[in-house]
Amino acid sequence: MSAPSVIELDGVCTSFGGQVVHRDLSLQVRAGQIVGLLGGSGSGKTTLLREILGLHRPDSGSVRLFGVDLNEPDVVLQRNLRRRLGMLFQHGALFSALSVFENIAFPLRELRCLDEDWIRRLVHLKLAMVGLGNDHGKLMPAELSGGMVKRVALARALALEPELLLLDEPTAGLDPDRSQNFVELIGDLQRELGLTVVMVTHDLNTLAGLASHVAVLADHHILAFGTRAEIMTVDHPFVTGFFGADRRKLL
């Protein structure tokens, strides 16, 4: 394992109003890994993603992305760091006042280096990637169905083709066909660009089709982290309960 580590969490503790969410949580994700983050409802998976993004500061412990501490005060450094990652929020978090096209073009425009033609081509490329046509670009987020919101949000997260992609429930709300396409799409991108992906998911098909590694979040910390085969051997009530009879499917 010589690949540089992309995410390093060390001794992270988090609590909300006295209720402990994470206690001494550590995790190291290396470049090129696709990590599926598992955990029961309310076990703090989304909170963990928010901490990796720097949206929520843990009570103690350090979060490092690409070797840079998120508490570093340098604004330009932090901005450049954010450009290297993309996030797909659980409910899309599209800018409701902008059309689909403008939503995807937004991160590209913010670079202030690309010309209009270049941006248009890239946006159409991303739309095609997630299986949407040119005409969808004119729609407003409020006019989209739940699955389309998700795909547009993914297209926006991919707009800068980030090195690190964080996905919160990416295939929830997609039909099986679409979610299979999604899995293939992420897999292709990963091979082409050497992406690192961290995803929260409950969908075993997504996990089996995509994840190279699995991290299990239970009892306030990362209970187990390893390849899919390694995780199967873990004997813990959550792991056996989660996979149950579907264990073989994952392997």
Binding site: F95, S96, F101, L111, H124, L125, A142, E161, D188, E192
Partner: protein
């Protein structure tokens, strides 16, 4: 990272190497584009085999440098070829999205239609309110007392400090400015008339209306608007609860009840401010002021003021609820409707005030 995207031309072949991704290209974008532009037209051999990573932004850049056709010979890995192939599948010309050009008559016409639609919406809301009242008269169990009292508390009791502060300061200001003028005419005693009539009849109600429109009106629009955006209103209807009875009606009646009380309170505090300023400026004792107030200001002025408060409260709440119910599920619409609600409420209040002034011109004016 020492590895950067590189481009060099050697013996009729363009050789690209390094990571060609947006992030890596950004610091040296001008340099790379210049390099691509400088490639002689005759060169048809491209060697991309040393490229470690190629993303779609770089693919678009290359495709444009190739002017939309594959070069004569291309050495490239399969994965990277796919990336460029995807760009090649795009239509060659990307028409810019059409920009809507609006003519002036069209613009004015749209504004008129919008105003008409808003007026219609408010009339519909008023009609709905009457129907709800009829329903509640027949089913008194369904009267939303709890929501009603909550609204009286929020729009009324919580507004007491700010209305008092503003009222007091306005009272002091008017008294002080009038006293300067009256002193020069030797008509000091008329300060009671000026303050009494202007505050009780006119300033108190209008001042409170403007404050409440900004404070409670905008809050109502935003609250109903967000409830629409988050589909809470729809959740209410699926439980068989009428949104107009549970959400709109308590707001409108709550504010209608709270406003006259706020007007009374603000007028009283404003008069107190005026009295204190008169005491300091004109040496007019508080006792004299209070004894002469009923003589100078007929009691009907107080009723006109309270009546105005009643009507203003109703108008503000109806306008606020109307705009709240017409928020579309996006942030732009929410902010636009909240602005419209406050502006329309204040304008309507001033309009209604003018109508009041015309129809009550015979009433309550002291005969000297």
């Amino acid at each position: 990272m020492s590895d950067v995207p590189r481009l060099r031309v050697e013996s009729g072949t363009v050789v690209l190497s390094g990571p060609w991704t947006l992030a890596e290209m950004l610091p040296m974008l001008a340099l790379l584009r210049e390099g691509l532009d400088k490639v002689p037209r005759g060169v048809r051999h491209w060697d991309l085999s040393a490229v470690s990573r190629l993303d779609s932004a770089a693919a678009v850049l290359l495709w444009r440098a190739w002017q939309g056709t594959w070069p004569g010979s291309l050495a490239i890995g399969d994965l990277h070829r796919q990336v460029i192939a995807r760009v090649a599948e795009l239509p060659p010309e990307m028409p810019p999205p059409p920009t809507a050009f609006v003519h002036l008559p069209e613009f004015v016409g749209r504004l008129l239609f919008k105003a008409a639609a808003n007026l219609r919406g408010m009339i519909v809301l008023f009609g709905q309110l009457l129907l709800d009242c009829l329903y509640l008269a027949r089913h008194p169990v369904d009267i939303p007392w709890r929501e009603f009292t909550a609204n009286v508390y929020k729009a009324g009791a919580l507004a007491l400090p700010v209305t008092a502060l503003v009222g007091f300061l306005i009272g002091v200001t008017i008294s002080y400015l009038s006293a300067l003028q009256l002193k020069s005419f030797g008509a000091d005693l008329f300060i009671v008339n000026i303050l009494g009539i202007s505050i009780i009849r006119e300033l108190g109600p209008v001042l409170v209306a403007v404050l409440v429109a900004g404070r409670s009106g905008s809050a109502m629009t935003a609250q109903i608007g967000v409830m629409r955006v988050t589909e809470e209103i729809d959740a209410l209807s699926t439980m068989g609860i009428s949104r107009s009875i549970r959400v709109v009606l308590p707001k409108i009646f709550g504010l209608t009840m709270a406003m006259p009380l706020l007007v009374l309170w603000t007028s009283a505090v404003a008069l107190l401010g005026g009295m204190l300023a008169a005491l300091l400026q004109l040496d007019l004792s508080l006792v004299y002021f209070l004894e002469n107030l009923p003589r100078a200001v007929p009691v009907s002025n107080l009723f006109i003021g309270l009546g105005k408060g009643f009507v203003f409260g109703f108008v503000i709440a109806v306008v606020a609820c109307h705009f709240g119910l017409h928020v579309k599920p996006n942030t732009e619409s929410l902010s636009a409707n909240t602005t419209s609600a406050v502006v329309t409420a204040i304008t309507t209040v001033i309009l209604v005030d003018a109508i009041f002034a015309i129809f009550t011109r015979q009433i309550g004016v002291p005969q000297l």
